[in-house]
Symmetry: C2
Subunit: 203 residues, 2 copies
DNA sequence: TACTTTTGCTAACACTGTTAGGTAAAGGAA
DNA sequence: TTCCTTTACCTAACAGTGTTAGCAAAAGTA
């Protein structure tokens, strides 16, 4: 490969990330609803069709952000799990990390869980979501089984589903209808549930 | 009021409901994303601006459906509560009714909880959602307190939040990423939680 | 009959996502 | 350097979207 070809690949990559970061700025300031190809083109000072040299269509851009979101939250959940070896602490850390991610990056969360604009088609094009689910499920079930070694396998599965639906439920309720006085209450709900999952702990 | 004026009011009302039912058909067949004023106008065989004589804008139409959705689900939850006097049965009936409503009317549920197209602005224009929340909260807390007369008031509130976040969490997870093998598991999660809320029952 | 209100339309504006087709620059080969 | 091909980029357009201005015809009222 010639020297110029390398530079051109580099430039192409730079343009791609330029488009993405510019789009992200727009979304952060105006929300998913008002992200448009023309706004991106204006912001990067190129004409509209240039965008289509780097992304097949608008959905491809959204998909890229969806991927990013899942990658980031997976990383943070792994870190949270690794922050302790005590099952209850691990579950609390995971809940905290997921909660923090959701509200520090509402745009990601909205996109990932279909709470933004054109997310109906997101389903098929989002293997990341399935990967995320399986990963989280396995990880949490492992924690719960470690804490309750005598339990049947079904039981851990049940507790995982309960844990995860509480977490996701609290977050998505708060995200769609924010009420300011439920902060402590929500923490309490989670803590209560977690200690419930662990109360058969051997030690 | 003259006789013709009565008829004209009646006709105006008929046109309004015609617009709404036509829009509902479109949504049922093609989803929220592809509901447009022009499609409605085509379907009712009128020109586009006629729609604006009956609704201020598109959002007003969506809002009307949102209102409808909340009214219906409130009615069904009331019926569910009235179907028994045993607290555990009441909670189960409520969970069942809410679950059934969500999946029998996905379009309503998506609109009501911001899982469709232009729902970001829905917040301000949706007192129905607050009314619904307060009503359900009071109703469920009453059931839980009846079952656990010795408990502190806080405890019932906690249990309500847990119950509702599990219910909403399970539903919205299943709605955005449908997995077919979780039907029984989800029921089990709910039943388990409910018996947990009631286990201090006096009788 | 004359006047007013309502009803409904055509046409347009300002946006969307997307693409066809052309131009000029850049890269590689002789 | 010259020729050719590829890439980069643009203008202009198409088919949609929500929304509105302005006009013609019908209906109601006096």
């Amino acid at each position: 490969m010639s020297i110029t070809a390398e530079r051109r690949i580099r430039e192409k990559e730079a343009m791609r990330t330029n488009i993405l970061t510019t789009a992200w700025h727009i979304v952060k300031e105006e929300g998913w609803q008002s992200l448009s190809i023309r706004k991106i083109a204006d912001a990067i000072q190129y004409s509209v069709p240039v965008i289509y040299d780097y992304f097949e269509n608008k959905e491809a851009i959204l998909l890229e952000f969806g991927k990013q979101g899942f990658e980031r939250v997976i990383a943070e959940l792994k870190a949270a799990k690794a922050s302790s070896s005590d099952p209850a602490e691990q579950l609390k850390a995971i809940a905290d990390a997921y909660w923090a991610f959701a509200f520090a990056n509402k745009e990601y969360y909205q996109l990932m869980w279909g709470m933004s604009a054109p997310s109906c088609e997101m389903d098929k094009c989002m293997p990341e979501r399935s990967v995320f689910r399986d990963l989280v499920m396995a990880s949490i079930i492992e924690i719960i089984e470690k804490a309750n070694p005598g339990d049947a396998e079904n039981n851990a599965c049940l507790k995982y589903h309960t844990f995860w639906s509480i977490l996701h439920g609290l977050i998505s309720i708060k995200m769609v209808a924010p009420a300011d006085d439920t902060e402590q209450l929500n923490k309490l709900v989670l803590d209560d549930a977690i200690t419930g999952f662990i109360k058969n702990l051997k030690s």
